[in-house]
Amino acid sequence: MSNKNIIELSNLTKIYQRGNVDEVKAVDDVCLEVPEGEFLTILGPSGSGKTTLLNLIGGLDKPTGGTVILDGQDISRLSESELVRVRREKVGFVFQAFNLIPTFSALENVEAALAPTDIPKNERLERSNELLRLVGLEHRADHLPSELSAGEQQRVAIARAFANKPRVLLLDEPTGNLDTRSGKEVLRICHQASRERGQTVVAVTHAGYVKEYTDRLLFMRDGKLFSQIPQEEFEEQV
């Protein structure tokens, strides 16, 4: 882990408008610093704002207030086209529902992340195959997501997230749809990557075994982030 912060959130707020008057503070004045290479886990009940927080860090959504500094760049002020570059080059997402393109093979799903880059096609395929090998799925390259188990689909999603060699991996409930064995395998791969490649991981999960891999645990409730997790809350969450 380095001393340099790769993520800095200052007074980050995201308010959703429901109807004309009703406002929901999904993220409420959050401040957070994440050093480069850290494996950070955020726990919290459903609707506490964890996914919104990840979306704001990854440039999938824009904050209502506050700033998101990612790798030294304030992405909360960027235009959509500039955010595209951030998502493409600096961030890799892994979602709970895998979010693979159903009509693409495993290889094509990984390659899709490289498609908008200038990398030549054969190089893209080579790198995609390499990533599938990394997650132990080189023999399933031509299979459609529907032909893969849940654990395998999530490993393809991880390979896709690694495709652009991102500085930050954002894992949104990556083990939510997996059994313990597959879930551990997914976290192990991400943990190994963060250690070997110096990638920062921010994970949102309910899996108790995340403790084996994480450097730091935070707790989120009603849009606010807490560094101390009450034992009963932790047990309830996991």
Binding site: N55, L60, D61, V84, F93, N99, A112, A115, P116
Partner: protein, 366 residues
């Protein structure tokens, strides 16, 4: 779904336009084959003379004096009026022609495939139809009998679409003398050539107005007499087709928007992994373009088959209409091009909406 829409629109366009062209051609060919624009005949006797049986059994229409042809030529726009006397006995058709008329006639010199054409000085000699010759083992020098004996001096090949197709053609004065009714100086049809193809209808109307018992037959009349077919001209065909293509574009846009709505999550994922709005637009437009290309190709092929079928159903009426269905590369290219442009338009419209999706919201879509 979109491909089906393109197929329906483009095949309809090709079918209508090709059928319209084929139809127009096959209705004008019977007259063009004999170099005429109008066939004039009488449906009532000019002078109540001659026997009714003679008319009913042997002539196709009431005879009239050959000298009337000079009067026909006095009508503006009439360039030439050519006399014809067609006589029928049992299944045989025996036609008297003026051989000096080589541009407009029941049979033209260009139809001769063996021997020679008739000359104004010819007596008891005839030219005969090839099919009739083959059927009866007739060759040059053979003798045919129809009211009198005639030596075969020429064999002609006449298209089935030639409305004046006969078995035997003889010099007109010889026919008038030879027939038992002795219709000296009489003919029963006049082939009218106008000096402008655009004024055929107007000329026909002028002739009927001046000679009220006379009836005229033009290419468009032939089209109206053919049954079992929706008569449509090329202009109407294009109008109907363009309307259909516009409908298809709107249908495709709607369908594509539905498609985009269904794929909202997919588009959100692609944007989340670094696809730009341009990448999303390119992807959707490319898909739509491929659909347009496949639909356009299948539509052109299907349109050609349909047009062939439509014209084959009227083949019996005019004769061999199917052969008038010609593959026009320009029309096929236009059909294919319209499908491509429609595909791009539909893809562009829906993809621009898709590109506006916020990735975080799109991913949340179930």
């Amino acid at each position: 779904m979109n491909i089906a829409g393109f197929i329906i629109a483009i095949s309809t366009l090709i079918t209508l336009v090709m059928a319209a062209r084929g139809w127009e051609t096959c209705t004008t060919v019977p007259l063009n084959d004999i170099g005429t624009d109008i066939i004039l005949f009488y449906t009532a006797p000019i002078n109540p003379s001659g026997s009714g049986c003679y008319i009913v059994n042997h002539l196709f229409s009431y005879p009239f004096n050959q000298s009337l042809l000079t009067e026909f030529e006095s009508v503006p726009e009439v360039e030439r009026a050519v006399p014809i006397l067609m006589h029928r006995m049992r299944a045989m058709v025996f036609t008297g022609i003026d051989p000096s008329e080589t541009e407009t006639n029941a049979v033209l010199p260009s139809s001769v495939i063996e021997g020679r054409y008739l000359t104004p000085d010819d007596g008891h000699v005839a030219i005969i139809d090839k099919e009739y010759a083959v059927l009866n083992n007739l060759t040059l020098g053979s003798t045919v009998n129809y009211a009198a004996d005639f030596e075969v001096v020429g064999i002609v090949e006449v298209s089935a679409t030639n409305i004046m197709k006969s078995h035997i053609y003889v010099n007109l004065p010889v026919v008038q003398e030879s027939l038992p009714e002795k219709p000296i100086g009489l003919v029963n049809m006049a082939l009218i050539r106008t000096d402008s193809p655009d004024k055929v209808k107007q000329t026909a109307a002028a002739l009927e107005e001046r000679w009220p018992d006379a009836r005229t037959l033009t290419g468009s009349d032939l089209a109206e007499t053919a049954s079992g077919v929706i008569q449509i001209n090329e202009e109407t065909a294009w109008s109907v087709s363009i309307a259909l293509v516009i409908f298809t574009i709107l249908f495709t846009i709607k369908s594509q928007l539905g498609n985009v709505a269904e794929r909202t999550r997919e588009i959100g994922i692609l944007k989340a992994i670094g696809w730009s709005n341009g990448n999303v637009v390119n992807q959707i437009v490319a898909e739509s373009l491929i659909q347009g290309a496949i639909g356009g190709m299948l539509g052109c092929a299907l349109g050609y088959v349909f047009a062939s079928y439509v014209l084959s159903t009227i083949g019996g009426e005019i004769g061999g209409a199917l052969k008038f269905v010609t593959v026009d590369p320009l029309l096929l290219s236009a059909g294919f091009g319209i499908a491509l442009v429609s595909g791009i338009a539909a893809g562009l419209f829906s993809s621009l909406r898709a590109a506006r999706l916020v990735p975080a919201e799109a991913i949340r879509t179930v």
